[in-house]
Amino acid sequence: MKEIVVENGHQPSTSELVQEVAREVQNVPKESRRDFLRKGFLFSVAAAATLGTVTKLEAKSPINPKNLPPNNPEWGFKWGRDNNQNPYGVPSKYEANVVRRFVPWLTADQKASISFTPWQDLKGIIVPNGLHFTRSHGGVIDINPKEWRLMIHGLVDKEVILTLEDIKRYPSISVIHSFECAANNGMEWRGPGLNSLQVTHGMLSCSEWTGVPLKVILEDIGLKKGAKWMFPEGSDPAGVGRSVPIEKVLDDAMLVYAMNGEALRPEQGYPVRLFLPGWEGAIQVKWLKRLKFDDKSWMVREESTKYTMLQADGHAKMYNWPFEANSVITSPCPERDWKEQKHGKIKVEGIAWSGKGAISHVDVSTDGGNTWKQARFTSVVLPKAVCRFALEVEWDGKPMLLQSRATDDTGYTQPMAKQLVAARGKESVYHRNAIQTWEVKADGEVNNVHVYA
C-alpha cells in the first residue's frame, strides 16, 4: 500500500488528509475499492494523523504574566457579564475543544453515522447532555411533542394510543445508567488502529434517566398470555425496530423522556425513547412510534445481518444484548498524555462499567498485565452504570504499559485481548470489552497498543 508522503514542514489539515485519501482511493481498482474503503486502517496517512503532529488549531496558550501572583489578575478589576446573559448557559469559552467528534471515513454519510463522547476531558460519571455520543440510522429529527403518539398493540388487553402527557402522568422514576453502542471499541478487533480514547471508547455515556417503567404501563393496559416479545419501532426515517424479550420488558425496561434533569435531546430520541438498562444502544429505540407484543421474535436486519457476532468458525451469535464488565483508563490517554507532567506521584484515573450489575473491583497494571494493584473507587458505584476509579503511581520516566481490569458483582472479570480473540475470532465487530493498554513512553507520550502474552 502506497504511503501518503507528507512534505517536510507541511502539516496537513484533516480535510486535506481526507482529500488525499479520497484521491488514493481513485487509484485503487473499482473491484477492490470497496474493501479498501471498508478497512479504514489501510488509510496510510503516515505520521500526519497521529495526535502528536496533529494540525495546530489555535495558538498556544497566551499567558500574560501580569495576571500571575503577586499581581492581581485583570478579571478582578471590572464587572463581569450579567448573571443571566446566557439564559440556558454555556461552558467556559476555554472549554470549546470539549466536543463530540466523528471519524469522516467511518460511515458513508453523516446521516446514518456516529459521533463520539470526549471522555478524555470529562470528570465524574454523568456525561453532559450535549456530549452524549450520537448514533442514528437516518439522521436526527425534531418531533413536535403535541403531535407525538405511541401506539401499543398486539397481544395486549387494550390497544391504545398514548400522548406524551399520558406517559408523563404514569408513576415515574429517575435512575442512573450507562448507555453504550454495541460497536464501541469495535474497530479494534484486528489490532490497534485508532490513537484516541475518544474514538476507541467514546460510544459510551452515562446519565440520569427519568421515565416510566414499562411494566407500570402494562399493568394499566394489560398484557395477554402468550406475549413473549416486544417490537419497538421508531418514527424516524430509519424506523429502527428490534425484538425485546418480555423478561426484560417486565424487569427494568422504561420509556424515558428526560435525561440529567431536562427533556431528552433530539439526538437521543426526543420526546420518548425506549430504555433498557445495561443493553446495547441500538435496541433502545429512539423517537418511539409503537410497541407491538407478539409470540415470536422478528430477526430483523438490525439483529441479524447487523449487531450479531460472527465467530471464527463462520457461525454467528445473535441477541447479544447486555454489555459485560469493561473499563478504560481516561488519564493518561493518547489525547491527554504526560508529556508536560513532572516526575513524581501521579494518579491514574479511569472509568468502569458493566451491563450486568455493579463493578466490584478495578485493578490497574503498569507492566502490561503481569502485576496488578487494586484501585480505589472515586465515585458512587451503581449497577449498570459508569463508576470512577483511581490509583496513584510513581512516574519517573520509565516507560509503562498501563492497563485497567474491571470485575463486576456477577464475578466476571474483563478479558485480555487474546482471550476474547480465542473465544470469538476477530470478526465479531460488536461488544469488544478487552483490557485496553496505553503505552506510556519515556517522554510521556501515550499510545494505543495491544499486548498479547
Binding site: V212, M318, Q419, N448
Partner: protein, 365 residues
Amino acid sequence: MYMSTLKTIAGALLLASSLNAASHTVASPDSYPYPSVVIDKDGNKINVDGAKLLPQTMQVKHVYHSPYSGEGYNLGEKATKEQVKAWNTDTRPDGKGLPKGKMDVLAGSEVFIAKCASCHGDFGEGVDRFPVLSGGQGTLKLHPKTGGDAGPQKTIGSYAPYIAPFFWYIQTAMPLSAPKSLTNDEVYGILGYILQLNEIQVDGKDIEDETVIDKKFIMSVHLPNEKGFEYNNLRVADTKNTRCMKNCIDTKNMTIMHIQTDGTVVEPEFGEERYYYGEAKAEEVGSAIKTAYENTCAGCHGSGLVGSPKLGDKATWDKISKQTLKDIFDHAINGFNAMPPKGGDASLKDEMVKDIVKYMLEQSK
C-alpha cells in the same frame, strides 16, 4: 433594703445585658463553639453540620423496586382498527405481516436500478461505503490477519437468515433519501431482484426475470445462512479471566502491537492544547439558510451522493463557479442531472434556493 436594692440593680443589669448581647452565644471571630465530632446516643459520629460522618467507602448499591403500580390509571385512547392497520407493518421470518402485492423480477430490477442502485450499485455490489447486497457466500470463515486481506462479506445471500423481515425494513427505511415511498409491489420486486442477484434458488429452481414475487413466494424462500446463527447464552461468559495479581503473564513471550497505519482522523480536529484559545465561536450568520441546506440538500451534497458535487470539494465547485450564477441558480431551481427541482422540496422559495447555492459556493471555496 440593701439586698433588695442590689437585686433591683442586678435585674436591671441583667436586662441591660440581655438587650445588649441577647441570650444566644455571640458569634465571635475568636472561637467556633462546635469544632469536634461528637458521638450521639446511638453511637453515630456527628459532624459540625449535624450530619452523620459517612464511612470512607462511597459505594452505594440500590435497588429500584418500589411498591407502585400503573393499574387503574386507565390512560390513552383506544387505538382504532384503522390506526393499528396503518402502523402494523412489521413482517416476521414466518411471513406473518407480509401484505398483498406482487411484481416480477424484471420489473423489480428496474425499480432497484432507479431507486436503490445509486447507493447499492446496479448489481448490489455497493457504491462507496454503502452496503453490499449480493455475493459473499463462502466468506464467513475468512478472518484476515491484516486489514489488507479479504474478510467476511455479509450480504443477504451470504449472511442474513430470513428474507421476510426485509420487506418491513426496506419499506420503512429505504431508499435512504425517501423512506416509506415504495409501494408493496415495488418492495416485492426489489426483494426478488436481490434474491436473483444472490443466485438464491427456490425449490431447486433459479429465480428468473419472469418469476413473480409475492407473499407466497417469499415464504417459500430459504436463505443459505438460515441455520448460521445461535442465540447467545448470556448467562455463561465465553471468556474466563481471573483477578490474578502477580506473575500473571508470560513476560518473555509478550508481544506489543503498535498502530501500523493510524486511522485517527477526526472532525472537529483535536486541539494542540487542552484549552481553547481561539476566537469565541460566534453565532452562525444566516443559520436559516444553513438549516434549509441541512434539511434539503445535505442528504446528497453532504457526502457527494448520486454524483452530486460534495460540499467543500473545492475542485468540483471551482468548475461549477465558472458558470454564470444565473445558470447555477437555474439548475438548482429547475433540477439538473439526478437532482430534482429545488432538491426535492418544492416549498422552498426561489430566493432561498439562491441563498443556499451561494452558501454552498462559499463553503466550497
